[in-house]
């Protein structure tokens, strides 16, 4: 899934923080341009395309809000994740109102930052025309990565959503473990069949109570069956 | 009426007092209660019992449990007796009735009366009520009476001026044919003469002069004068109380009554509750009766014939609206009567009067 080259602009004036963030994204193979000054960041954004912008609000020169406002005014749809250290809860609202896609309040867990960044990047890469898949009372919104069972919104992990997406794209079709392994992990990651069983198990549990089930066909694979069809 | 005995006397002038039948102390009569007696009303009056009798009877018909002792005095005796009792702080009488209202005023002025306020007393006109202590309960105009056998109709005097004119015109025809009070002997006479002199001092002086010239006959009192008239010894009686005159006219159709049209004095007999009355409640009850519509009706029908708010009795020649026209001059019951009561005043006035009238020999 992350086989394409990703460019991230990080705007953060606190050196220790900026260093850690850019190091972590480098480690996962992304290119990170790190700016500490608001004016410079704003300029760079006006002529460079990025896949994600991580923006601190409190900046010398121009603050994060102004950069964001200007960015959105120029028509750019690049995902923006705002970081804030202010406690004025208003900051978050205005960040979202101004077109930020997500925000984190400092201090934050770096794994959470990475996870949220991934979500934003994936949302950016998605974009199938039919966005909602329905099977039984399970509905999967592919744009927002949202899963509903009846009226309940179920929070699924990234790979669980991908798994559900594969199964629900053709309900009733039996997918073999190998097929699922390929689609789920690609070729880069080495994962065993046990991993498939693990995800299937989790997904099953999270879909409990739904009017659709994941059926295990011993020896051949898995299928999603809607109770409504029966 | 003829049985009526009336004596008027003036203290200190005993030689002048005509000796008449009846006692100076007055007549006394008891009206026993017609039912079980529960009260005893004592009336001391200087008012003829015969005139009062219908009123007493009617009152008793309504109050059968009350015995009435009626004692008739001459005015001066009544006054003296009441004054002495008052000074002693006692009173035999529960109510005093007198035509000499000046004496009653004097009694009230000296604190010998008690107040009385009731719905009946409130109907008494202002001029007949002093201090809610003296109430006038009759309405008696002072009139001329003539004998039509002797006085031709063109001679009938309908005013004081007309009388003066008549006496000047025909002095001989009326010589010794006019009669009036002897004010020396009569309290009422004095009071009327005193008020006459104040109504029109000059005209009155001239009238007295004319009366003197025609040798006017003076008699002690009303009935004496009227008696002379009835007997044909005089032709005109001057200044007679209307009530007596009307009674006389009823008895003798030849007697005619004229109410003068220039002015007519009006006397209201007074009633007074003594301050020390033994039964003031009974006195007040009787007074209320006298002042009530019923009592006034009885008085008008049977006793005094004239009433303030009634037409003149049949046959009386007089102005139509006596009071409204201002012809009726009521003798106001009030402090001004004290002037008439003054001893020096009285003796001076009588002396003057006598100089005018009384200096010719009486027949």
């Amino acid at each position: 899934m992350q086989s394409w080259h990703v460019r991230i602009l990080l705007v953060e004036d606190t050196h220790d923080v900026g260093e850690a963030i850019s190091r972590r994204f480098h480690q996962t193979g992304h290119t990170v341009d790190w700016e500490t000054d608001g004016v410079a960041a704003s300029e760079i954004l006006s002529f460079t395309e990025y896949d994600l912008v991580i923006l601190d609000v409190m900046l010398p020169g121009v603050d994060g809000f102004s950069i964001l406002r200007k960015l959105r005014q120029s028509g750019s749809g690049v995902p923006v994740l705002v970081l804030t250290a202010r406690s004025e809860v208003d900051d978050r609202v205005s960040a979202l109102d101004l077109g930020a896609d997500d925000y984190l309040v400092k201090p934050f867990d770096f794994r959470e930052l990475e996870a949220r960044a991934r979500v934003l990047l994936r949302r950016r890469s998605g974009g199938e025309p039919t966005n909602v898949i329905i099977c039984g009372d399970i509905s999967l919104d592919r744009t927002n990565r949202n899963v509903m069972v009846g009226k309940r919104e179920i929070q699924l992990k990234r790979r669980e959503i991908v798994l559900l997406e594969i199964l629900a794209s053709r309900p009733g079709k039996v997918f073999s473990k190998d097929e699922l392994l390929d689609q789920l992990f690609g070729f880069e990651e080495a994962a065993g069949e046990n991993a498939i069983e693990l995800y299937i198990g989790r997904l099953r549990k999270k879909l409990e109570g739904a009017r659709a089930r994941i059926v295990t066909l011993r020896g051949s694979g898995y299928q999603l069956v809607s109770d409504d069809a029966a | 009426m003829t049985a009526r005995i009336r004596t008027l006397a003036l203290a200190g002038l005993a030689w002048l007092v005509p000796t008449l039948a009846g006692a100076l102390e007055g007549e006394s009569e008891t009206f026993p209660a017609t039912a079980k007696e529960t009260g005893h009303l004592v009336i001391h009056a200087a008012t003829d019992l015969e005139a009062m009798r219908p009123l007493l009877r009617d009152f008793q018909a309504r109050n059968p449990n009350i015995r009435i002792d009626y004692v008739d005095y001459v005015t001066n005796d009544l006054f003296r007796e009441a004054r002495d009792a008052c000074r002693a702080g006692t009173s035999e009488a529960d109510i005093l009735l007198s035509s000499s209202v000046d004496q009653l005023v004097r009694l009230a002025n000296d604190g010998c009366a008690q107040r009385h306020d009731s719905p009946e007393t409130r109907s008494v006109p202002d001029w007949a009520n002093w201090r809610d202590e003296i109430f006038g309960f009759t309405f008696e105009p002072v009139v001329f009476v003539y004998d039509r056998r002797w006085v031709p109709s063109e001679d009938v005097p309908r005013s004081h001026d007309a009388l003066l004119e008549l006496l000047r015109r025909k002095p001989d025809a009326y010589r010794a044919r006019i009669g009036t009070y002897d004010i020396q002997a009569s309290g009422i006479g004095y009071l009327l003469a005193f008020y006459d002199s104040r109504q029109a001092p000059t005209a009155n002086g001239r009238l007295l002069e004319a009366l003197s010239r025609v040798e006017t006959i003076v008699r002690c009192c009303n009935n004496e004068v009227l008696g002379e008239l009835a007997a044909g010894r005089i032709s005109i009686a001057y200044n007679v109380l209307g009530s007596y005159a009307y009674a006389a006219a009823l008895a003798n159709p030849d007697l005619r009554i004229v109410l003068p049209r220039d002015y007519a004095l009006i006397l209201s007999r007074g009633a007074l509750i003594p301050a020390a009355a033994a039964h003031p409640d009974l006195g007040k009850r009787f007074l209320n009766y006298l002042l009530s519509a019923r009592g006034r009706q009885v008085a008008k029908d049977a006793s005094f014939f004239f009433a303030e708010n009634a037409p003149l009795p049949v046959g009386v020649d007089g102005p139509e609206a006596l009071m409204d026209s201002g012809i009726g001059r009521p003798i106001r019951i009030g402090p001004a009567l004290l002037a008439a009561q003054d001893e020096i005043q009285r003796s001076t006035f009588i002396e003057d009067w006598r100089r005018h009238i009384g200096e010719h020999p009486q027949r």
Binding site: V89, E112, I154 | G111, P335
Partner: protein, 456 residues
Amino acid sequence: MFSRLMRRVGVVLALGAGTLITAAWIYARAAADDAYDRLLLGAAFQMSESLSVADGNLRFVLPPSAFELLGLANDDRIFYRVIDPSGATLTGYADLAAKADLSASRAAPIFGDDAYLGAPVRTVTVSHAMSMPEGPGWAYVVVAQTVEARHALASELTVRATMLVALMSLLAVAGTALAVRYSLRPVDDLAAALRQRDPQDLTPLTVAVPNELSPFVTSINYFIIRLDERIKLLQRYIADSAHQIRTPLTALSAQVSLIDEQRLAPEDRRHLKRVQSRTLELAGFTNQLLNHAMVIHRFDSVQLVPVSLNDVARMAFRNAVPITVDPDMIVSFEAADEDLMAMGDVLSLREAVVNVIDNALRHGAIARLEVRVRQRENFGRIEVIDDGPGIKENDWPNVISRFYSRSPDARGSSGLGFAIASEVATVLRGQLGFRKRSENEPFCVYLELPLVGGQP
């Protein structure tokens, strides 16, 4: 204020009326005396003028007009006495003013108050010089009159004056009442403006008031501005300190996260783990502290608006459940069928719910966490349900107080989470509640708020 003013005005008016009436009474007495004294004197003069000497004798004619004059006081009794130059009583009441010094009246008539025949009387004595044959001498006239008419006139005058004074007092009271009401109306207006004012509205008052009240309004406004400044200052202080604390904390955790565990000795790795965990704990607690302060102070300045509980709960749900949550945890959100509206402040409310969810994730849920919005009669509930053991019933009152740890060895501090949620709920006239875990139902913490009408 009105009644107190009126009471005082009433007292002043009553005192004034009392003084006026007393003065009127004194004046009426004097006026009545004056009026009737003239009558008395006139009558006495008339009588004395009637004294004359004729033929060597003293002659006296009592003038009725004198009595008519006195008779103007119709109800009063009259006593008189005429004394000749020899001192003998000529006529009248011989014992009247028997003890009086008659000669004193030679200069001028003498008035006096006396009693005669048991009644109070006013007397006047006048003198008259007479030329008697035996030589000149003085005759005297004493006239006395009871005082009923005087008293009647005096009381009539007094009664009229009293009525007038009463009327004036009444008018004054009514006028004062009107005036006081009228002049107090701006105060009422001001009070109404203050009463209707939103507690969070810290703009100066703009009510039009008369000049007399403007210092008052100025003071109020001065106070409001000061309060507003203080609140702003406090908020800025909190915001600034938040920033000041968070930035190094972030830097710290950033730097810690950069340490390469692989290169550390096992011993050091253990220490690193401890540092990481404590850093996280510190971060979480700092967030709670700052959020708590923020939430509480927001209510000083924020105006409440109708808030959709579904939206707030969903926002909180997405915010509170980290993407990095344990993959075996089943986390779900279920909105209410209708959009439930409650008066509130989105951010505070969301912060409250976030704290409840956060607490459930950290200390409660084992494998399942559900967030639901439900209607219960006139209340809307945001329920946070987990499959953990729950909180013991007798701990419920404690956990909503600040800095309370459920167990002595509780990892990290749950100290402020419930406190924030509870305080927000209370300010919004709702409550933070708990439901016991039972056979059929898992443990539940809920935030309950009164609903407002106009649900779409």
